[in-house]
């Protein structure tokens, strides 16, 4: 068992807590004397707050305070790059009297109960000096300043001019919102100078830093606790205004305060994937060799922050092409600050790039897989470094085989099944494979259990389980005797859960810390009178090892020894710890390019008689190194594909240009995929351990599954309907005719 647990399909160790309702999410923590804060949100997208009239609200039952700019001390700004800390929005709430976007906090009402606070928040009257907001790309002033991204290789423009076959198309990905099940929430509790925060976050340590900076107190005075996170998808990487308001309110009242973002404001004050308008120009030889790639992106950011959705990175690395030029410009709109959302940059970037490749394949009369193989990058075209491990070719081949790609008739509308026309599409997936630094502590206890701890967190992806798996693999202590403690800023420093880097980052640290703890037990075994392996001074100590949780002589079966806890008991120790810090392995970074890869194969069924489009088949082949937990890994990929179905078919936040409100800011009107929209999904891993990244050969797998889904579906939709969906998501009016709501 000690080797097979890595790579096995393991149930998540926190599963029983979750399904029995015992897992403590942010607002589940019990705090005495808790007060409830409810926001008063701007109902205008561009305005100046003239007056906050709160006297009615102030007098309502249970109301403790109505906080706003007029009656609170200013908060500090986070230090950002100077301290490697980052908040969702650089501007702390109430900093000035300007309203930059609809749904910005204008005031916070605090009362004894949630209902009292909500009732009073309704009664706060805000007087605005209203200006017309700009929420559409077409309303934005032209991009100012130099492009935020501009990089060239060769002469892309020249090569495009003289290319035999050219493609020049523009693709638009609308604003998407994260909207995880658990809404953002903070419970803030001051004890003297010390602030404890119960939150839902993807990064307890960054959260701790930011809140210390904003409140102007030393970082060691802040403790952030987030044992469970009802998903983040990037939206919970950085703290948002509600966290600061909870801390401010609790300070003001000298009593714990909870602020939870209501669902409607999950569309505005906690980030989103920004709209991107992406022009792609591809030039190729008649036989499909890419000679030029140009990718130009215009993207809105907020009035207060510069957030760049780095869509063009994929264009520089996915295909072998000598002449590449990419450029990204920002414009400012009256929207909240965008933030990373699952697969930031690459996912929307691939919508454009892979759609363009599929369109080019058609122009060339080439199979889209053949076009990709023709331009296959054997080494990283940007850095010229060899890949640490790349098996994209096999992803295409395995996927094509499993999907039955050879049976494809590329003619639009040619593949029928009853009333329906089938459409097939494919696309490539790519995501960075990163690894950072982490410190992990592993403790072997005298009751036969183990404990591993780290100030990273499990955002629902299975991090708890991976910690336990490594400890089990290294010690043989069974999984349910391994306690894992995460999500607390007081623990040894660990990584933010973002960019699919946690697994690759923590594995080496867990392994090293566990080895160290085991070594200490083995040392104790030979040093301790009463231990069967005790070697008194001057005698030769036996060589001992630990197997299945037992300490034994190396050349004897484990059952000849004793359970490890007997060693600790003999020495009268409660436990022995190991602690290890591992880093990003910068030397290897200079030798190799690290990426995960994949191929998406999608089928849609189109019933032209009733204009009904449904996804009918989805196959994802992923090259992400060694899979540590097959169950959690598959779950990550399939969940990502569901999100991709939403991206291609449903998701789009629509802003009202008159007010700046996302008009569909609820789950009935902002459509995501339901179970009925999701067919049987299949995921295949081509499993080549990437030992240049870490000793387990594992990469993270949070985002890669989403990459390429939407462009593969767009191709399938075209194949079925004859309509190119260049503005996501698909809408029946694309086929039936009629104007679509303006988003650009």
């Amino acid at each position: 068992m000690s080797t097979s647990i890595i790579g096995a399909a393991v149930n998540r160790v926190d599963g029983p807590l979750k399904v029995s309702g015992q897992a403590q999410y942010a607002v589940d923590h019990k705090l005495e004397n808790l007060a409830y804060g409810v926001g008063v949100f701007s109902t205008m997208g561009n305005a100046r707050v003239v007056r906050v009239e709160a006297s009615d609200a102030q007098g309502m039952p249970g109301v403790l305070a109505v906080l706003h700019r007029g009656n609170t001390p200013p908060l500090y700004r986070p230090a950002e790059r100077l301290e490697h800390s980052r908040a969702g929005e650089i501007r702390p709430p109430f900093e000035d009297d300007q309203v930059y976007y609809y749904g910005q906090y204008v005031a916070l009402v605090i009362a004894n109960t949630l209902e009292q606070a909500q009732a009073a928040a309704d009664k706060v009257r805000v007087q605005y000096d209203v200006r017309k907001p700009a929420v559409l790309l077409s309303e934005a002033p032209a991009p100012q300043g130099p492009p935020r991204v501009h990089s060239t290789r060769g002469d892309a423009a020249g090569a495009f001019e003289s290319a035999a076959v050219k493609l020049d198309e523009t693709y638009t990905v609308p604003v998407e919102v994260h909207n995880p099940m658990e809404m953002h929430a903070t419970m803030a509790h001051w004890e003297g100078e010390n602030l404890t925060l119960y939150v839902t976050t993807q990064g307890v340590l960054n959260y701790q830093k930011v809140l210390a900076e904003v409140m102007g107190i030393p970082v060691e005075n802040v403790r952030v606790i987030s044992p469970f996170c009802g998903s983040g998808f990037g939206g919970k990487l950085f703290p948002w205004p509600e966290s600061m308001l909870a801390a401010l309110g609790a300070q003001h009242l000298k009593r714990p305060v909870r602020v939870q973002v209501p669902r409607s404001m999950m569309f505005t004050t906690v980030g989103h994937r920004p709209l991107t308008q992406q022009r792609v120009r591809l030039g190729a030889t008649a036989d499909g060799q890419l000679v030029s790639m140009q990718h130009d992106v215009v993207q809105p950011t907020s009035m207060v922050d510069e957030y760049v959705e780095y869509c063009t990175g994929v264009t520089k690395t996915l295909y072998a092409c000598e002449n590449v030029e990419v450029r990204q410009d920002l414009v400012r709109l009256n929207v909240g600050t965008p933030t990373p959302m699952r697969g930031p940059g690459a996912v929307p970037g691939l919508v454009a790039l892979e759609s363009a490749m599929n369109e080019l394949a058609e122009k060339l009369g080439m199979d889209p897989i053949a076009l990709r193989l023709k331009n296959y990058a054997e080494t990283d075209p940007g850095s010229k470094l060899p890949y640490s491990s790349k098996h994209l070719r096999e992803c295409y081949q395995k996927g094509a085989e499993q999907f039955g790609w050879a049976k494809r008739n590329p003619k639009v509308g040619s593949m029928r099944r009853g009333n329906e026309i089938l459409g097939w599409g494919m696309a490539s997936a790519i995501w960075d494979a990163g690894r950072g630094g982490a410190t992990v502590r592993v403790r072997l206890n005298s009751d036969g259990t183990a404990r591993a701890s780290c100030a990273t967190q499990d955002i629902g992806t299975g991090t708890y389980t991976i910690f336990a798996q490594v400890v089990t693999e290294k010690t043989g202590i069974v999984l349910d005797k391994v306690q894992v403690v995460l999500g607390d800023s007081t623990l040894p420093p660990g990584p933010t859960s973002g960019g699919s880097t946690v697994t690759a980052t923590v594995l080496p640290a867990i392994a090293k810390a566990t080895d160290q703890a085991v070594q200490r037990v083995l040392q104790a075994a030979v040093m301790t009178p009463g231990s069967p392996f005790f070697a008194p001074h001057g005698t030769q100590a036996p060589k001992v090892a630990m197997t299945n949780g037992w300490v034994h002589e190396v050349d004897k079966p484990y059952s000849s020894g004793v359970p490890f806890e007997e060693i600790l008991i003999a020495r009268r120790l409660a436990a022995l710890d190991g602690e290890a810090t591992t880093g990003p392995d910068l030397a290897n970074r200079e030798r190799y390019a690290f990426n995960s890869f994949g191929a998406q194969f999608m089928e849609v069924a189109w019933d032209p008689g009733i204009a009904r489009l449904r996804v009918s088949r989805a196959l994802t082949v992923i090259d992400a190194g060694k899979i540590i937990n097959r169950k959690a890994g598959t779950n990550q990929v399939l969940g990502a594909v569901v999100m991709g179905i939403g991206m291609a078919m449903f998701e789009e936040a629509i802003y009202d240009p008159r007010t700046g409100k996302p008009i569909n800011n609820n789950f009935a009107d902002y459509l995501v995929a339901t179970n009925a929209d999701v067919p049987e999904l299949e995921c295949i891993f081509v499993e080549y351990p990437d030992y240049h990244l870490n000793e387990y050969g594992a990469r993270g797998i949070g985002e890669i599954g989403l990459a390429g889904v939407a462009p593969a579906l767009a191709m399938a939709i075209y194949h079925a309907t004859g309509v190119r969906v260049r503005t996501l998501p698909f809408r029946v009016e694309d086929v039936l005719g009629g104007e679509r709501a303006t988003i650009v």
Binding site: N664, A668, A673
Partner: protein
């Protein structure tokens, strides 16, 4: 949400006397109270009323209590057997959780999902007579193409009511002025210049039952709902069809459309285009064209005209090809 008085009643008489806003499943009422769109002073909880039965009527037909839950009605054996259009319409609506709460009376009286009606920061004639209509030059993809006025183009969102329209249901009420029976086709009023008035119900009038006539021998029926996603979304367009065939001919046809009208949209034009005619694709197309002849698209919902035609044609194709229920 505003403060309100809450009363629970056990008899129809005390409900009517309580003179408040009735609370049934609450899936519309409480939702809109939370948004401050509805601000009743008194909420009268009618859940204990003995109106939760589905009963066969002595002379044929079905009597459905106002408090029968949507999920119970959808799965009632008689409904599934004799009024499949109603069962299908109910099951296409909302989500299982909502259907377990939603009632027959409440469903008939559910409010529009117009985004501007639901947000008190916007002008809305339905919410506040004379304040203006924000949908007219707003995001009106989900709005009505039939029955709208210059003051209001909000869609009536019910699926159940569309099926009942085609089944020629009758609404039975009891109010301060006694009991009355209202044909469902006379129950809803067009928005005109007073969009806040949606039905002919008088203040305090309680829906007690809905009755359905016995389906004529050999009747077949079907409901088809089209929407962006497969579940849990209001109709972009839907069609309820109830037909009686004589050989290849359509002897009797009842048609109602959903998702396209300011009220559940019975279409006598489409019925006339079909009755006595053969069940052919060409005739179905003509009926669909007749049904949508008066449609007036807004900026973002022109596609609904074509989509509604598609829904009707496909529903007719389906219903005329299926085995009849006997």
């Amino acid at each position: 949400m505003q403060e309100f008085r809450y009363r629970q009643v056990r008899t129809v008489e005390s409900a009517v006397r309580a003179n408040g806003t009735y609370l049934a499943g609450g899936t519309t009422l409480v939702d809109l109270m939370k948004l401050n769109v509805l601000q009743p002073a008194t909420v009268v909880d009618v859940n204990p009323l003995p109106l939760a039965q589905v009963e066969a009527l002595p002379g044929g037909g079905l009597q459905i209590g106002a408090m029968v839950r949507n999920s119970d009605l959808a799965n009632h054996p008689t409904v599934k057997q004799e009024y499949p259009v109603l069962s299908e319409a109910l099951l296409s609506g909302a989500s299982p959780q909502l259907r377990n709460m939603a009632t027959t009376g409440g469903n008939l009286l559910q409010k529009t999902r117009c985004s501007y009606y639901r947000d008190t920061n916007y002008a809305c004639n339905k919410r506040e007579q004379g304040s203006g209509c924000s949908a007219m030059d707003g995001y009106n993809r989900m709005h009505a193409v039939l029955g709208g006025s210059a003051d209001c183009v909000a869609t009536h969102p019910s699926d159940m009511a569309v099926a009942m329209m085609a089944l020629e249901a009758t609404v039975h009420t009891e109010g301060p002025n006694g009991v009355r029976a209202i044909a469902l086709r006379d129950f809803y009023v067009l928005p005109g210049t007073s969009p806040s008035i949606e039905t002919v119900l008088q203040p305090g009038e309680l829906i007690t039952h809905v009755t359905l006539p016995a389906p004529p021998h050999g009747t077949r029926s079907h409901y088809l709902k089209l929407r962006d996603r497969a579940q849990y979304e209001f109709a972009l367009a839907s069609a309820a069809v109830v037909v009686q065939m004589h050989g290849k001919h359509l002897a009797r046809v009842r048609i109602a459309l959903g998702g396209v009208g300011t009220r559940p949209w019975r279409s006598p034009e489409a019925e006339r285009a079909l009755e006595g005619r053969e069940a052919t694709a060409g005739n179905f197309q003509k009926a669909a064209a007749a049904a949508m002849a008066g449609a007036k698209p807004l900026k973002y919902n022109a596609f609904k005209i074509e989509l509604a035609k598609m829904a009707l044609v496909r529903a007719l194709e389906t219903v005329t090809q299926m085995e009849h229920a006997g």
